[in-house]
Amino acid sequence: MLTEHDLRERLGAVHVPPSRLDTETMLIAGRRAGRRRTAGAVAGAVLAVGALVAVPSVVFGARGTPDVAPAAPRSTTCAVTGLPVPVGMNDVLVSGIDPAGRYITGFNTTEEAGTNQKTGKVDGLPAAQPVLWVDGRPQRLPGSYRSVIPSGVNTAGVVAAVAGNGKTFDTVLRYVAGTPQKLTTPAGRWSFNQGVYVNAAGDIAAADDQRGVLLWKAGSTTAAKLPLPAHAMINGLSDDGRIIGAVVTADGQTLTSYLWTQTGTASKFVTPDGQQMSVNAARGEWVTGNVWPSGTAVRWNTRTGQFTDLKLHTPAHGVNAQGWVLADDTIERPDAPALKLEHVAGDDEPPFVGFLSDRGLAAGNRLTSDKDGHTVSKGVITWNCADRK
């Protein structure tokens, strides 16, 4: 039997993988944040650009050694634009962009998600209202659910979203011309907590990692359950209808990423150096993700087999049809210098940049902390890197 002493000892004995952080890197990160705040106080501009151009970007090496990316010759002039949000929405987070960059999705939350801190119970989804920007103009999307979070939009403006009124996202919605359709699910209680994906045709895919992966063909509200492995997770739906996803072993130690056809034929992602690869996004012939244990972002051309370790110790969030990889506030391009997306002068936290269109429009959020230390949105912004050399 475990005693209190045993529990303390076991918590202290849990194997924790090495941290990438050390005192010096934390000092550097703190100084950068301090400079941003100071720059903001001086500039006083809402969307002033370029205050950090001369400050090298610090990324953390796998062994705790800071790799300092060169300050030059990066182009740093992607135009930054703040997007308006609907009146009354104060905490809007971006959640998707279509490949052409015309449509952007997001959602507004009005309360904290998940477990109630006071009761310890999962007391319901956070209230979330979906937003769609069309050519930069925001509109509220309708939805008779307490929580609606869009996570995909295609070039026709078809939006895929998860929704729910209770403790889980048990519903998938398809918005066509701004009008929601509820997509039916097979019998049982489904829970879609991984996001949903829509491709150019308007097909929508979503996964419940306990029950399976569902696909709704464009125009249909009836789901087909795909013959994929148990506990399959999905990270994308290609325009040719293939599923990008992964399976983790039950002990959590091994993650294997796959490209599955709708009949279940699998192509396994095997990295040249044998590392595990978590595929985070795919577009056309390009795939991006992170490899482990190095933790670095990678770019993979599935047509040519070209595999590039970008040496960035940061999540690779997106890839576009040109092979540009979005990794935090950096865009790595195959045949051109990397682009650094400027932080807004005065912001005390780095922005979140999560989505990238084929032509190079990146979308994200300015972030800040409220008085309780919660991370909240300070605004929705885009970086237009379309014509950067």
Binding site: G30, T115, Q276, P315
Partner: protein, 173 residues
């Protein structure tokens, strides 16, 4: 920041970094997310160090910021990006034939707890925070901490089960 203040901050980080990282890892179960949480926590402290360093219980303040970062993290869309974390199903449906060490088993059991309960267990039994300090970190009452602690321990007992059963009498919430 003045050199003297920065030295104070550096000393604080040097002394706390490893423990904060372990706390964050116990909370989120992923070393890279733990790094993100700790980095955000310590950066926030740096920016506010002049004020924070004057707080009587700077460790309590640091824990409060860290827990908030952890609780906020899954709310944000980029938490969908996988950074090698382990799915919760390992906690809820372990395969009996698998040989999972005690330490991994404890992590799996922790992952099966609601976030609030997990935070209470980690702060109380790893960070050795008092009930009151845990309540301050979570911005809730001492009664709520005791309640969550009790539920969390009961859940751990149930998940660990059998020979790993926690002797409730030996644990004080």
């Amino acid at each position: 920041m003045r050199a003297e203040l920065e030295r104070e901050y550096e000393e604080f980080v040097r002394g706390r970094l490893a423990r904060l990282h372990r706390t964050a890892y116990l909370l989120c179960g992923d070393a890279h997310r733990a790094d993100d949480i700790v980095q955000a926590t310590l950066t926030a402290l740096y920016v506010n160090w002049k004020k924070a360093s004057g707080i009587d219980n700077i460790d309590g303040f640091a824990h409060r910021v860290l827990v908030r970062r952890y609780l906020d993290e899954r709310r944000l869309p980029w938490s969908r990006v996988r950074l090698g974390d382990v799915p919760d199903r390992t906690a809820t449906s372990p395969r009996p034939e698998q040989s999972i060490g005690d330490r991994d088993e404890l992590m799996a059991a922790l992952r099966g707890l609601p976030k609030g309960q997990r935070a209470v267990i980690v702060l109380r039994y790893f960070d050795d925070l008092s009930v009151e300090a845990t309540a301050a970190a979570l911005n809730c009452s001492a009664g709520n901490v005791k309640s969550q602690c009790s539920r969390g321990l009961a859940a751990l007992r149930e998940v660990l089960g059998g020979e790993q059963r926690i002797k409730m009498g030996g644990l004080a919430c």
